[in-house]
Symmetry: C2
Subunit: 329 residues, 2 copies
């Protein structure tokens, strides 16, 4: 029987819960926050509404969800343990030590950290090789990407097992070759975030204008092809090499302010919060979640029809699910 243990039941932990439950795993969650059950229930409700719209194969019977009173109770039976607590390294070390004291030495211990490397997390661990980064993206029940990062302490077959489990719950494992702060995707997000803070601080754009500059332009491109494939097309028949050679000089231009980090002081926080209220305040967070999910479902269904990118992954997931059902039935 597949058991997953989740330490942390916020929006990320709840998303992992949905992924595992919908694929037949039993899930035990530990989070001392008094609202955990309600919060997880809300994420699960969103997932139950949306995931079946992008997954056309029959899903297995949903697993059993329980809430535990301690880490010990949560992890004792688990084959996959996922830590999704706040980004404080002392807290993560404390949680991981407790996890390792009570879990199977064979279990995979993944961390949802967006910033820390596996080596950071492994400091002081009883069995460092058991701890890897498995970094998902919100909403976890719809966005496929999981960055898998391991230190050189983890054996290959261990990482392969993690890879296959991530794949089996309909996600896209991206095995990151080297340990690096913030892995891959969040380096991009951080770069854009810093630049966006400058633009708002300098009064060049409001939060809504920043968002519009993304979602009416390159955001539409990036839902289906990334940076390099897009530029390959822009380069045209002359080829990628020729295209790249034109870029050299531009890199010397003062086109970003990223060498400098803006101070996220009270004034800037207030400016952004106020503009964000004006931009999106007419919708509650729950409404925005539903709008986002409906759009993601529509986009992924469109890509599925074209058998491309996230849609291709979903098609393959349908086939895998059908095959497994066939053999288990």
């Amino acid at each position: 029987m597949n058991n997953a243990a989740l330490i942390g039941g916020g929006v990320i932990g709840g998303g992992w819960a949905a992924r595992f439950l919908l694929h037949g795993w039993n899930v035990s969650i530990f989070d001392p926050h008094p609202e955990t059950e309600r919060r997880v229930a809300e994420v699960l409700e969103n997932a139950r509404q949306s995931f079946p719209k992008i997954c056309e194969a029959n899903l297995p019977n949903e697993g059993r969800l329980t809430f535990a009173d301690s880490i010990e109770e949560t992890v004792s039976e688990a084959a996959w343990i996922q830590e999704s607590v706040s980004e404080r390294i002392e807290l993560k070390h404390k949680v991981l030590a407790e996890v390792q004291a009570h879990s199977s030495t064979n279990a995979i211990i993944g961390s949802s950290t967006s910033g820390f490397t596996p080596s950071d997390l492994q400091i002081g661990a009883a069995r460092p090789e058991q701890i890897i980064v498995a970094h998902p993206f919100n909403p976890v029940y719809l966005l496929p990407l999981v960055e898998l990062v391991a230190s050189d302490k983890s054996p290959n077959e261990f990482i392969d097992r993690a890879y296959n489990i991530v794949l089996s719950i309909g996600m896209k494992p991206l095995r990151v070759r080297k340990e690096i702060d913030a892995h891959i995707a969040d380096r991009f997000l951080e770069a854009v975030w810093r630049e966006a803070l400058w633009l708002v601080k300098d009064g060049v754009a409001t939060t809504e204008e920043v968002d519009d500059a993304i979602r009416f332009g390159f955001g539409l491109r990036w839902a289906q092809m990334g940076l390099f494939e897009t530029y390959r097309i822009a380069g045209g028949e002359a080829g990628m090499k020729h295209f790249l050679q034109q870029f050299g000089p531009t890199l010397k231009f003062p086109w970003t302010k990223l060498m400098d980090v803006p101070d996220l002081d009270d004034e800037l926080v207030n400016t952004i919060a106020t503009q964000s209220d004006e931009q999106s305040g007419k919708h509650s967070i729950r409404e925005l979640e539903r709008i986002r999910d409906k759009n993601l479902v529509g986009i992924m269904r469109a890509l599925k029809e074209n058998d491309w990118g996230a849609g291709q992954l979903l098609r393959r997931h349908d086939v895998r699910l059908s095959e497994n059902h066939g053999s288990e039935a």
Copy 2:
């Protein structure tokens, strides 16, 4: 009669041609490149295939396309003149001087520049106030965004006219409040580009892995909601302000290498070109264009069904087209 003059008939000029022609404007193109007619014809073919799939109202009769032998011949009758030549400021100054020598003083002169400000472009101009930035995104016939940037020399009613024309050809004009190198969107693209070059150079990721980190994760989010609205949801009920306050410390982390600019030397160019061939070489550029366009059409149709973002814009465009047809018929 609406006449547009395009200086430069590459992939961007060709995209502008398609936007104007499909909305009933006559278009005259000047580009001394010997392959201009073929290149424009290819872009037009892509546009004729794809744009009617996202625009459900009847389009007016297509305008007339001509190729001129000189800037003088191109611009003489034009209400909108769009410069889309290479990003070299001396070349742009030369072209703009020639344009102003022969065009109506009333015409809008837009530049497709991704980097230069209107004030940069206006240096030495006979009528600086006539020159604005109108920066589109490839493929111009599908992606709606146009960044409109004016210096304080241009009167408001002039910019309003430009705004309405951009809107009338189914695009999303974003009026940028301040002149700044690379406007808004390309500051983000540049930040991501620099970071991507580092990741490939340092062997952290291949071009395909960079693309996958985008298109299986945040790229899907950004097709419909930008940075701030997405983070607003992530912040949940505690609100944007609370969410932002957590971000302060992260900004001090070494999460980007953007303070430093990688050298785009032969070695890095070769690495990227080789990886890109491995990633995408099985498709020709023409095939990749068609895949991209099919995906963009699917994504935008999905958003249209949800009346959101780029899809909401398209719905409004349908209404506008139907009304105009109604009154003209």
